[in-house]
């Protein structure tokens, strides 16, 4: 994003452009969407978009920033209970959110676009970091085994949720998250 603004008209047009970007991404994919198709959907001119963003990836990154919910890990309770809460929220999110609808398009674009790949890698790393920090805390307090590899365990815990969404095309039932946590963390 190049410029920020306080003018309410500019804010409204930025918000329309962000929404149009998310919709285009979910419906036609990264490769097929263009600044032109986004501008048309948002009802603005291409020049308006180029005034605020450098190009497609910059615009996508900025649009995804606006819809990514802040995930805050709970600070009370056992680490197992808190990991369960975080994963239940992820399951709900993957079943029905704008970000989840954009995920297949991002995964596909990451195959051939270095910028998208780096963006998605950073985004996943950030999200995974939350889980890893919780697992680290559990190991430090003795609740979890000192042998546990937090990085590996985080991928094993989150993996089945993404597997269901992306490979089985069925949302992972939030009610089964506790079973995954019990299986992995004992």
């Amino acid at each position: 994003m190049i410029a920020s603004a306080c003018d309410p008209r500019i804010e409204r047009s930025r918000s329309a452009i962000h929404s149009a970007t998310i919709e285009e991404l979910a419906e036609v994919g990264y490769g097929a969407m263009t600044i032109e198709s986004i501008a048309r959907r948002a009802g603005v001119g291409k020049a308006t978009i180029y005034r605020h963003w450098r190009g497609k990836l910059d615009l996508v990154a900025s649009a995804l920033e606006t819809i990514k919910e802040d995930v805050v890990a709970p600070t009370e309770g056992t680490v197992r209970a808190r990991v369960t809460t975080v994963l239940e929220a992820l399951a709900v999110h993957l079943a029905d959110s704008d970000l989840a609808r954009c995920l297949p398009a991002l995964i596909s674009a990451a195959q051939y676009d270095d910028g998208v790949r780096e963006f998605q890698r950073g985004f996943s790393r950030e999200r995974r970091g939350l889980l890893i920090a919780l697992l680290d805390e559990g190991i430090a307090s003795g609740e979890l085994s000192a042998d546990l590899d937090p990085e590996l365990a985080a991928a094993v815990l989150a993996g089945p949720l993404f597997y269901s969404r992306l490979l089985s095309h069925e949302p992972f039932p939030p009610g089964r998250v506790a079973q995954v946590v019990a299986l992995v963390l004992g």
Copy 2:
């Protein structure tokens, strides 16, 4: 696929069309590829393609059939060792195979194309079935806990491999598969 043939020239052209389909899918994605672009890449006319396949999905399904390797679970050794072998092969496969290169495009197309979604769902179910059968065997023999849910455990075991490939964009190291199996199956 409509017709099969024994004529070696027809076989050669079928094989060129299959290769072109896989390459197009991996490089431009399902949405952007057309019978025309596949024909051009394969050096055949569109009519040749329509003589053998009903359309894009039929052609993709038939091309993927030709590259999907038969995964045969080993029959000797403990179930834990055999699950490890199957997952190590999956990790190698996901790191570098034509099928893995097509996976992001299929995941993206499955979002908006019912045919691709059903195809991919069936394909994943079939592959997962192998792991589930092994886990069932382990439960029956008493090697694994009777409390284990084979369907859930299969997703937890395979999940991190797909997570690494699709979200972190890093191949899952086959050498770490044994750690996943130990974490999940004890």
